[in-house]
């Protein structure tokens, strides 16, 4: 046991970026109970990196992963996503979620439905759903309810509103409730009452209570502008919203 173990995470601050490129061997001292996240793979007895990014790890749980940004979404179980209905069938809908394969949304994956009372979705409708099955050899499956509680938990059709496309990392940042972005959204919420749905597939849905086009575009612009800003610049952006 080293003293480092008490630290939850090794932070890579300032210039001390631990940049890894595909093919880089990763030095892992402890082999017990090793968990590898995205961007790492085990070959024979060594761990190598398969994506470029920042190497991060949790010392206590011996979890390692590569933090990187990309535009293409790869489905992962449990992710909330925003999909567009592309096909309507007797048993299921097909959703475009931005990944290589379209996701299947069974009509029974809604709360309180049976064969007779199916949810009404048309081609082109927006749906907020959670990924329930993600396997590289199978089509991804999504659901709009929690099977345990049979409640929608906020998932379902997204009516009206506007979809913002952004990088996957920006979605992750918002979902992890990074403080600066949160205060930016709160600031926007003071002026306009906003409904927000964040999909991990690089889509953000906004709908203002007033449904005013000008205000919607204003909110879109502010959210989109914060994508490439650091925390200081976001604070500046929040201040500039005051006038």
């Amino acid at each position: 046991m080293t003293s480092n173990e008490d630290k939850m995470e090794i932070d890579h601050e300032g210039t001390e970026l631990d940049v890894v490129l595909p093919g880089d061997p990763i030095n892992i001292a402890r082999k017990d109970d090793l968990k590898l996240g995205p961007g790492l793979t085990l070959t024979q007895d060594s761990v190598i990196c398969i994506k470029a990014g920042l190497l991060k790890h949790f010392n206590k749980k011996n979890k390692w992963y590569v933090e990187s940004n990309q535009k293409r979404y790869i489905p992962a179980e449990g992710d909330p996503v925003i999909g567009i209905v592309t096909y309507k069938g007797g048993e299921y809908y097909r959703l475009d979620i931005g990944s290589a394969h379209q996701a299947i949304l069974p009509i029974l994956a809604f709360p309180n439905v049976n064969k007779k009372s199916r949810p009404i979705l048309n081609i082109g409708s927006l749906v907020y759903a959670r990924i329930t099955l993600a396997n590289k050899d199978m089509e991804p499956e999504v659901a709009c309810c929690n099977p345990k509680t049979n409640k929608d938990e906020g998932f379902g059709e997204l009516k009206n509103g506007f979809v913002i496309k952004c990088s996957l990392r920006y979605c992750r940042r918002i979902i992890s409730q990074e403080t600066e972005i949160c205060s930016l959204l709160k600031k926007l919420g003071e002026k306009h009452e906003i409904n927000l749905a964040i999909g991990m597939n690089g889509r953000i849905w906004i709908r203002l209570k007033s449904d005013d086009t000008r205000d919607t575009i204003y909110c879109y612009d502010v959210i989109k502008r914060a994508e490439n800003l650091d925390n200081d610049d976001i604070s500046e952006l929040i201040n500039s919203l005051n006038d």
Partner: protein, 224 residues
């Protein structure tokens, strides 16, 4: 040592510049050796046409667009070279029944086009986040009439030479992934070229790492 037209020594590479994420595709990069410049874009893993679908791995589709005009036999050869070089490096088994499309467009041609195209493709694949076992760097050299090995030749230097060689290496073991040689040469000359190019490839890997680091620093100063 005889100087070259651009006052480089025989084993110096022209200035390398790398830009990433310049197009709206999933990944893109431009790579230039002096006045030779190639832009490459990568899209994927995306939906695949049924007839191209492979059940156990991703289909890698390569398109090479020449500087002017429509793609000809030379460009088809370059497509084949890129595909065969990167098929072994990309972990296509992780995304079965999908397509990874690589489009490479020549922007300026001043010699060593294949090498620039391979390097641009590596950077674009990194940018797109395609899983790879390793990364690739390529470099060309010529053996001139007076038996001198000139690294990274310009278009002018590629005329009237005894032979022209292009090598592509991987990073971890710096072993050969692809090589193409045209002309007459002895095996000693060939291995000399190999050694010189191998050393030059590690310099290119350094530039690649630098480009990735710069981009990440720009993106992540947010979190520090």
């Amino acid at each position: 040592m005889a100087t070259r037209a651009d006052k480089r020594s025989s084993s110096t590479i022209r200035p390398i510049s790398i830009t990433t994420s310049l197009l709206s595709r999933d990944g893109s990069a431009s790579f230039s050796f002096g006045n030779t410049k190639v832009i490459c874009s990568v899209n994927g893993p995306a939906e695949v046409k049924l007839r191209d679908e492979k059940l156990d791995k991703a289909t890698i589709d390569v398109v090479v667009r020449p500087l002017v005009g429509t793609p000809g036999t030379k460009d088809k050869t370059h497509e084949y070279i890129l595909r065969s070089t990167f098929e072994g490096v990309i972990q296509s088994g992780l995304h079965p029944r999908t397509q990874i499309q690589i489009v490479s467009q020549v922007m300026m041609d001043d010699g060593s086009i294949i090498a620039a195209a391979i390097n641009a493709t590596t950077m674009a694949l990194i940018d797109a986040g395609i899983p790879m076992k390793d990364i690739v760097a390529a470099i060309s050299c010529v053996i001139s009439k007076d038996d001198q090995i000139l690294l990274d030749p310009t278009l002018q230097e590629m005329e009237n030479v005894k032979s022209f060689h292009t090598f592509a290496f991987n990073k971890t073991s710096s072993s050969l992934l692809f090589c193409e040689s045209l002309g007459l040469f002895t095996d000693d000359q060939y291995f000399n070229c190999y050694e010189i190019c191998n050393a030059a490839a590690s310099a290119i890997f350094e530039k690649m790492r630098e480009a990735v680091t710069n981009k990440l620093q720009e993106e992540y100063h947010i979190e520090s």
